[in-house]
Amino acid sequence: MIGIQCISAYLPGAVIDNAAQAKGFDADENFIRDKIGMLELSRKADAEKTSDMAVQAVLKLQQEHGVDLSKTECLVLVTQNPDGHGLPHTSAVVHHQLNLPGACAVFDISLGCSGYVQALSIAKAFMQSQNMHHGLLVTADPYSKIINPADRDTAMLFGDGASATWLSEEAGWQIGVADFGIQSQQHDALQTRDDGHLYMNGRAVFTFAATQVPASVKRVLEKAQLGMADMDQVFLHQGSRYIVDTLAKRIGAEGKTPFAASAYGNTVSSSVPMMLALHLKPEWHKVLLCGFGVGLSWATCLLEKNNDHS
């Protein structure tokens, strides 16, 4: 069974001081600390491409976990801010830069904050259907490419980051039951407009998350015939401290839903894997993952410890 063997996160070196930035938006330090939650926002260098960030994440995976990249049979990249104009697919550039084997399925998935959780199931099903043994799932969606620095609704939220996950049959974590969905009548609540800048209807996104995520979490727990008490942790997309805290109350998981993005920001599809890379503990047995955002779509899944390979 294909599952998660190991994960690494990459953050570019530069940061924006969000409290200092907030002064320009008439927002005080308490609002940044207690509501937005992001004290700093990571920023890639201007010349750094999406593919460069993806490559750095994979190289960290190799350095930190000793992954043998010559075994890669599948490379999946989740992004909505690809290199150039998106043709060729950015995963092809990453494949070339990493000198991965030619016999390798390589494709991008266009999803935002729900992307990693959806891509876990996509990659697992694809790999198992083709009897593949090792694959890379990479996320890199640098919103600094589309943020309008004068837009109060978005400029204080997003950071740049990337992640790389090694999927294999020797995995310590199994990808369990999942729930996916979309509230597509509000597809325009998060979008890149003709001026090239990100637009967000904050109220629509908040209301969507506050109502759909609890229902999705409930469905996953019912499918798994488990309760919230059985979960060691719930890793929610780190949209803001406020949405994480609100959802924690609404799903009955207070104390189990860490907010960990204060030093780097909302990294879109890298948000959930970054939590896994930095905070997943080996003594845990069941962790719930939920990504939500662009679409407006959601994806929730259960990760279960595989004691045969832990």
């Binding site: 509501k35 904050g202 908040f206 109502t211 406020y242």
Partner: protein, 76 residues
Amino acid sequence: MITADDIRVLIQENVMGVDAMALGEDDHFKQAGIDSLDQINVLLAIEEKHGYKIPDEDVKLCKSIRSTLDYLAALK
């Protein structure tokens, strides 16, 4: 019909650090410590508990308990 105390209860349940029961009907939400994120959370609670649908463009009309009650009375 939703009352001022109904709104105070929803503020109490959803906003940290505000004594909602002491909130006057004309107290401006923002000045009372209810910021824009708290406001949309309270409006969601009103929608869910009392069956209203408040369009995005009308959020700015709900600046205090009284203005929210007036708005909702006109809506139904």
